[in-house]
Amino acid sequence: MEINKPSKAGTMESNDIYVMLMPNPKGGIEISLHSIVMKQFGEEIERVILDTLKGFKVENIIVNAQDKGALNYTIKARIETAIKRAQ
């Protein structure tokens, strides 16, 4: 699935994650993640983001994410919403 335009989803509230997606003219997936639980869960959050992108067959994208302690299902939901808004 192609990302045609910038999109965003989520909020900066506690237990949520704010994600911004942009088309990547260079190709590939670039993730920039800031999280209040970066040390403990940074790798896990990135894995959930990547798995969700993979599920929608998104291969060229820039992801900026500001995590405020979201659980995995919230991360997945916000990425899915942003992907659908980017069509």
């Binding site: 989803a9 989520g10 909020t11 509230e13 506690s14 237990n15 949520d16 979201a70 659980l71 995995n72 299902y73 919230t74 997945k76 939901a77 916000r78 899915e80 919403t81 659908k84 808004r85």
Partner: protein, 280 residues
């Protein structure tokens, strides 16, 4: 619980409520309907709500959002969908859509239940037919705010203006053997007012009351909870009933008073409610 707020969705199951309403309607802005729908779907799939009934309030059937709400949410099998301003025609249409989804997903037909919200003058007058419109309906929620808005009258704490609607809904639900859930009390800081309002609903026959804030749950439960004396008496009635059945008696007496079917039914309801509130 607002459907686009992860913190509330994940805590909803531990607040002590018998049912939780995950809201896609008024608590979600028009620009976030898509986001809330996906978040609520994922919450139902991933959060353990244990024995708490999961109800999702969809958008009114007349809006562009409701069909997507039903299609996405029904596929993760919530216990119940709550339908705002529902008419019998809309409920019949929703029933058909749900049946198709249940067949596609391999769910038992009729397993997703419906609770219509009666919140218009037409809905109040038509409540009996609304309940009769399909077998999925397990209860009715009276929506006092929208109803008084529809009637063009002021909503008050005392609630005299919804007295007729409360009577009509409670009796229709009782007649059709479904739950009747009273409108929420909107002042979240007035617990005395909440207690009085809940007592009024209970005395009119409502089987439950909606809370607009988790802090209201304990007060509502305390009004609905049977007293120790009521539980003790109900147990004695049921014990006496078992004895009478063994002896082949249809009617029997307890403490010099005749015990018949209504008394037995009330005793059974008392014990059922006490079990639900973990009082026995």
């Amino acid at each position: 619980m607002p459907g686009n707020t992860p913190a509330m969705l994940q805590d909803a199951g531990i607040l002590g409520a018998d049912s939780i309403i995950l809201d896609l309607e008024d608590a979600v802005s028009l620009t976030e309907k898509d986001s809330a729908r996906i978040l609520v779907r994922e919450a139902i799939k991933n959060v353990d709500y244990s024995n708490v009934e999961v109800v999702v309030r969809i958008n009114p059937f007349t809006t562009e959002f409701s069909q997507r709400d039903i299609d996405i949410i029904a596929r993760v099998k919530p216990d119940t969908l709550m339908v705002p301003k529902a008419t019998e025609e809309e409920l019949k249409a929703i029933n058909k859509i749900l049946t198709e989804i249940e067949v596609q997903e391999g769910f038992d037909t009729g397993s997703i239940k419906l609770i219509p919200i009666v919140e218009t003058a037409y809905g109040v007058e038509n409540v009996y037919n609304i309940i009769k419109s399909c077998d999925r309906i397990v209860g009715v929620l009276l929506g006092g705010e929208d109803l008084t808005s529809d009637l063009g009258i002021k909503r008050t704490k005392e609630g005299e203006e919804v007295f007729y609607a409360r009577n009509r809904v409670a009796i229709a639900c009782k007649a059709m053997k479904v739950d009747s859930i009273d409108t929420p009390f909107t002042d979240t800081n007035d617990f005395e007012g909440l207690s009085k309002d809940t007592f009024k609903a209970r005395s009119l026959g409502f089987t439950g009351k909606a809370a607009i804030n988790p802090r209201q749950i304990d007060t509502i439960h305390s009004v609905y909870a049977p007293t120790k004396e009521e539980i003790k008496y109900a147990k004695r009635v049921l014990e006496a009933m078992e004895e009478a059945e063994k002896e082949g008696k249809g009617v029997f007496s307890l403490d010099g008073k005749m015990v018949d079917a209504p008394v037995i039914n009330r005793a059974k309801n008392t014990i059922e409610l006490a079990k639900l509130l973990v009082l026995v």
